[in-house]
Amino acid sequence: MRRSNRIPHLSRAAVLASASAIALAVLLTLLLAGPAHASFWAPQHGGSPNADRIHTLYSIIMVIAVIIFVAVEGALFYALWKFRMRPGAKAEQLHGNTRLEIGWTAGAAAIVLVIGIVTFIMLPGIRNPDDSDADGWQIPASYQTAKDPGLLPPNGKSLNIDVNGQQYAWRFVYPDGDNDRQNNVTAYEEMVVPTGTTVTLDVRSSDVAHSWWIPKLGGKADALPGYTNHTWFKIPRGKEGVYTGNCAELCGRNHANMTARVRAITPEQFTQWLARQKAAIEAAGRGAQQYRAQQAQNDQRSQQGDASQPSGEPVPSPSTVPNDATSPAAQR
């Protein structure tokens, strides 16, 4: 009687299945990596130094991870292939090996230590904002709005924007340093920023938890009601354009459609844009004043004159006043 018939081993079907599984995996990888899409292997970057540094850190860990992965899976598959059941083979009755066990514990600890050291070296560059470039937008001295100096670039100057998450849109307020909060430039949907300039964000929420995230501009910052979160980015000169992202924390039914847009323009264009917004706010303010004055006149007249005359005279209502700053449509 041939015993080998009765010994379970890697059947032809299993070999075929594993070969086809590997072939499938390789094929898929080639198919996907073929378009040379960078984000197949690593997070998106390219819009801001902190995103680039996260990408670098990720890549370093990726290299270490691939080495570990290949080594461990290699050892596993080698063991499975080499020590598969064969006639006459005997398993070594070994319970352990203290030196080997201490060795791989120390090895694992060493790898963790290396990753930790690399992380701590990279950390400040990711967390702390850089100074603006010399050819960036010249930030007026009054613009330092972050209370904690640790959240500002070394020279203390950044364009600070207030980001407020609301179901299901982001509101952006550009504080201009004075105490009048009525005249701050405000925008919905699209944040307009100058390139070459450090932008710091105060991220808040006025309803549920949201998360601010533009992948190419660095990491997420959760918007949590009752808290202010901080993040920053600096889009380099020459990388003007639109950067988009999604809200990354489940915020209700329309979560998927809570998108975020950052439009980067040159500092010169930004100066103009800011002036236009300011002018529009002033115009809106003047319009509202005119309207109120007109109303007051009407009230006076209706009190003095005959009461049966309807007071609704055609006066410009606030909604017809060109209001560049608050209407999202006007910004496109």
């Binding site: 066990e101 930790g116 938890a209 808290y227």
Partner: protein, 561 residues
């Protein structure tokens, strides 16, 4: 004859077919409803949790169907949010955690040589609490299932934003299954601490029992946190308190801390018993003792200890002080050391063995290869600046499915194929088992490997539709196709299990030539488990018993000599 038996003992674990009738489980349903037998309770646990696994799987397939193509309108946003909530909740609270309790209930007393659990009636109570929790939660599909994700973050889960009863159903599910798990955990702890067979010292306790012990301790420590969290949510919703409302001095961060203080250990609660199953299966099919028993047991305890101190790594993007982030980053990274020890020890177990490729081993090896990827991506997520890019994206979805599906579920399937003969007296079909394994493995990796790239490409979790930027359309389609392949693979095992109940070959008491005490008794075991409980002399009692039998058969009969 005796010599040839001895050589098969060490070499060929072909099931010795013992031709006797397999006792049928009783059909008297009152017996089942009122039983306090740990084996029947274990079976009920397994049947119920696998049923929930099926339901959760169908929910997952619906989710993948919705995401198959960009801008899909198959499901509306409300239904989608309800589905992700139900899928997550079902898999965590109603499948992975209780399925481990199911195996634990059935096998812990058998493995330690006890006749039942320490508190049989409490054991029944913990099962019925689970069933009640599942019923309460699934009753909500008749009105309004919750829409807040399985983490139910406030303020979204507060009365202002989700006034209907779904969140309340979820709260009661957490409470009921929580009480069930707590009672069950105390029971496991007391059973393992006090009811071991004579000679079974702590250093001879089977590794599966070590992991169930750790699972119990973790549950006992972590459950009060979530019980508190959901109670505060309940009073916020209905009795006018403001624990989570920042406008009234509360804090939404409090919810996240309490939730994850439970939620992170929960991950280890889910995978540690899986590690235990792997530690039982690998030595049997490599025909070798487990490599580094003490190192594996110690690393289990270390993982549990560290697992309690890393909860805030789920909160790296929240407004938290740097020192907090650094602490949780370092403690999270440390977990990779004991996990590495385990993986190396498992490979050491296979090394120089004679590996027999039966289905339980295939699933165990599938677990090893897959879990490694989940562990490595965990290191990326532990590093908080990197997590700022990866948090709440499909990268995270891929990571935890590698851990919980590729890890825990593959281990559970390994355990199912391994212990099915003990529970039913019949073997499962090898051919179907292998087909199921390969289909599941291919389906799994097709589904989840590409999800890393979906996340890196910028797609957040929990969104029902997406624009076709980058390669998101292609990646998602591949993932959906994989999910259906995976589903087919799981279905094959389900068919296999049901078919084998009637048609499987009769297994006999010890079909695998295994090492632990549960194989000392008949399959399925009689009501009191053992006719006589043997004295345990090593970590592999059955090996000693077989050696003893061999010695006695070979030595000349002193009487006749």
């Amino acid at each position: 004859m005796a010599v040839s038996t001895a050589s098969t003992l060490t070499q060929t674990p072909i099931p010795q077919v013992v031709a006797h009738e397999v006792p049928r489980p009783t059909r008297n349903w009152v017996d089942w409803l009122t039983t306090t037998d740990h084996k029947k309770i274990g079976i009920m646990y397994l049947v119920l949790t696998f049923a929930f696994f099926g339901v959760g799987g169908v929910e997952a397939l619906l989710i993948r169907l919705q995401l198959a193509v960009p801008d899909n309108t198959l499901l509306d946003f409300k239904t989608y949010n309800q589905l992700i909530t139900m899928h997550g909740t079902t898999m965590v609270f109603l499948f992975v955690v209780p399925v481990m309790a199911g195996f634990g209930n059935y096998f812990v007393p058998l493995m330690i040589g006890a006749r039942d659990m320490a508190f049989p009636k409490l054991n029944a109570l913990s099962f019925w609490m689970l069933a009640a929790g599942g019923a309460v939660f699934y009753a909500s599909i008749f009105f309004n299932p919750p829409e807040c994700g399985w983490t139910c973050y406030v303020p979204l889960s507060s009365k202002d934003y989700l006034p209907n009863g779904g969140v309340d159903a979820w709260i009661f599910l957490v409470h009921l299954t929580g009480i069930g798990s707590l009672v069950g955990s105390v029971n496991f702890y007391v059973t393992i601490a006090n009811m071991r067979a004579p000679g079974m010292t702590w250093s001879r306790l089977p590794l599966f029992c070590w992991t169930i012990l750790t699972y119990s301790v973790l549950l006992i420590l972590a459950l009060p946190a979530i019980a508190a969290a959901v109670t505060l949510l309940l009073t916020d919703r209905h009795f006018g308190t403001n624990f989570y409302d920042p406008a009234e001095g509360g804090s939404p961060l409090l919810w996240q801390h309490l939730f994850w203080f439970f939620g992170h250990p929960e991950v280890y609660i889910m995978v540690l018993p899986g590690f235990g199953i792997i530690s039982e299966v690998l030595p049997i099919f490599a025909r070798k003792p487990i490599f580094g028993y003490k190192a594996i047991a110690a690393s289990t305890l270390t993982i549990a200890f560290l697992g309690l101190m890393v909860w805030a790594h789920h909160m790296f993007t929240t407004p938290s002080p740097s020192v907090v982030l650094v602490f949780f980053m370092v403690s999270s990274m440390l977990i990779s050391i004991p996990t590495g020890i385990k993986i190396f020890s498992w490979i050491g177990t296979l090394w120089r063995g004679t590996i027999v490729f039966r289905t339980p081993l295939l699933f165990a090896v599938g677990f090893l290869g897959t879990f490694l990827i989940g562990g490595i991506t965990g290191v990326f997520l532990a590093i908080y600046p990197v997590d700022w890019q990866l948090h709440d994206t499909y990268f995270v979805v891929a990571h935890f499915h590698y851990v919980l599906m590729g890890g825990a579920v593959f281990a559970v399937f390994s355990g199912l194929y391994y212990w099915f003969p003990k529970m039913t007296g019949r073997m499962m079909d090898e051919k179907l088992g292998k087909i199921s394994f390969w289909t599941m493995l291919i389906g799994f990796h097709t589904t989840f490997l590409v999800q890393h790239s979906i996340g890196l490409d910028g797609m957040p979790r929990r969104i029902p539709e997406y624009a076709d930027v980058g390669h998101l359309g292609l990646y998602n389609l591949i993932s959906t196709i994989g999910a259906f392949i995976l589903g087919v693979g799981i279905l094959v095992t389900a068919i296999n299990a049901l078919r084998s109940l009637k048609h499987g070959p009769v297994a006999g008491p010890d079909p695998w030539k295994a090492n632990t005490l549960e194989w000392f008794t008949q399959s399925p075991p009689p009501k009191n488990n053992f006719d006589a409980v043997p004295r345990v002399r090593s970590v592999e009692p059955m090996k000693d018993i077989r050696a003893e039998i061999e010695r006695r058969t070979n030595e000349p009969d002193p009487v006749s000599a």
